[in-house]
Amino acid sequence: MSSVSDASGFRLGRALSDERARSAIFQLLVVLGLALLVAFIVFNTIANLQARGLQPGFGFLSDPAFFDINQNLIQYDSQSTFGRALLVGLLNTLLVSALGIIAATVIGFVAGVLRLSNNWLVSRMITVYVEFTRNVPVLLQIIFWWSILTTLPRVRDSLSIGGTIFLNNRGFRMPAPIFEDGFAWVIVLLLLGIVAAFALSRWARDRQMATGQTFPSFWVGLGVIVVPAVLLYLILGQPLDWDIPERTRFNFRGGFNVTPELVALWWALSTYTGAFISEIVRAGILSVSKGQTEAAHSLGLRPNLTMRKIIIPQALRVIIPPLTSQYLNLTKNSSLAIAIGYQDFVSIGNTTLNQSGQAIEVVALWMVVYLSLSLGTSAFMNWYNRHIALVER
């Protein structure tokens, strides 16, 4: 820089040969181009909206929606507002995602472990399941399971499982729990038991660290959780009842109905994502070097303890990051609900969009909601990942 310090005014050639100036100019151009693009879009949008006589804004959310939703977790009827309808949809999305994440994790871990088993037949069968499920579009699988469920008998000829659960083409009718006075105390005691069990296992670990003495913290902890709650439940006179569905002439009375759409979507998403998770689990377990197992065995740990104390903690560190993205994929794939008429956030957004014409606002809501779900989940998983990584040393 010293040789060119006799800067007498601005010269383009000199500015271009300086890296900082060049990058400043380049970024200025990028910003300028982006601003032009945005201005172009805004200009067109205003013109197009005026031509169609649409008022932009989120005011429509408090207008009545006038459409029905077949599965609502909160109070909703056709007089409710668009805003409430969208909230119902969001809850439906969260419901199927949460159920799917639980089931996919279980399926994925079981399949991943079974695929590594010594049993030739079982590992081959799991391979067939994984490869087939992964290589067929999930939308097709959702439609497939849904069309199977809708071939169940009609309501009148419902299949009965022990007279308490009824299967028909309108869904699964299940007994609904009725919570009577005092059941809340059982729940409270259960939660207290869980806290106590955690404290116990911590104490047992610290004691083992200090003295080397072991303590059966799992079984004692389980007892601490279950026994007081069961005792209280019996003392209070079993304050939990079941509302068992009864056949009436055309339908059922009592119980609650799980729609075939929810079951099909949940099952398809769980098996699809489970196949991906099983691959992640398999890779995670294989990533722990064989020397770790051999070292654990030579220390005298039994296979069960080797798995729990040596292999799984190390495998989890490899498993967690891709697992997160599978959970996010499942949540995003739950938007395929629209193809079979499960009224999730996207589906209700689409109905709202058609009825109110407020396309930009609805799409903006979609983006904001899914982005916050993704960023929220990945933030939580990053935190968890750091937490697990600390175990290393």
């Binding site: 579009p137 996207v346 983006m367």
Partner: protein
Amino acid sequence: MTAQPFFRQPNEMVAERPPPAATRGVVGWLRANLFSGWLNTVLTLAGLYVLWLFIPSVLDWAFFNADFAGDDRFACTGSGACWAWLDQRITQFLYGFYPDGQTWRVNLALILLIPALAPILFDKLPGASRLRWFSLAYPVVATLLLIGGFGLEEVPTDKFGGFMLNVTVGLAGIVLSLPVGILLALGRRSRMPIVRTLSVAFIEVFRGVPLITLLFVAAILLPIFLPSNFSLDLVIRVIVVVTAFASAYMAEVIRGGLQAVPRGQYEAAQALGLGYWRTMGLIVLPQALKISIPGIVNTFIGLFKDTTLVIVIGLFDILNIGRTMIANPDWLGLATEMQVFISVFFFVVCFSMSRYSIYLERRLDTTKR
């Protein structure tokens, strides 16, 4: 009195004996792999039971009790599947509403894909360097073949449908997303704060939202964003959106490749006096892209499966053609047959691609050697 030696004399050789019968041959294999312990035995028996339950009935349904010929579903009298529609509808499943006499153009575009892809996928091919020019020209050639012009009959894009639409949208998305993805990946690793922020924002937004919402953007919002006297076909708008979606994923795959290139390569290029673009274009990207090919193939598999989502905005891809067919009185209710057929179709294509990507990963993985 001489003591009996406790061990054999070292010069006394024991004759080799075969391993015990139970650890050899079929019996040994069975014992080791299927019946080693009670848990394995239970698993094996359960597995056999499941197979016995499913395989015969599936085979009966799909082949032995199935009907293969006829003009409508009433011709199917067997208790199994009804495949009679395949004969009549296969053209529609493959080409959608593409004009009858012109389907050779679709086939030709597909066949030309082989020489276009070969030099990229198999780099030891003789004459690969010359074929690469054809690879570069292929997107233009294929577009001309499909849409027409220059003497070929023009085919509007709303005639695109069936499996051809899935392939077109998937391939166009992946090919167009490659350059965009490279730029985004470079942008994300750039030292310029504004460029980096914009790249990260683009990547996170498009990876964070479901493809379906983006398809609605293509169907409903893009016409609002564009001048009213300027209209784009729905298929083109879908390709634009799918490209943006895929390039966000592509950027992450390529970023992985860029990170795998050792620092020394950058430094060596700088020591030779190469600027940013020549460092990237001549030294870093060729290595990074080669490492990224398995990831790119996996992205393509995912994208290709996702092309079925276009049914929600009313395009007639293979799945939607199938859904229309089973709503037709002639073939009413053949949902399972249709779904099985399309599943097998996708499975064959995606499975072979994923095998290729695994083969490539093994070949590129030099750590084990």
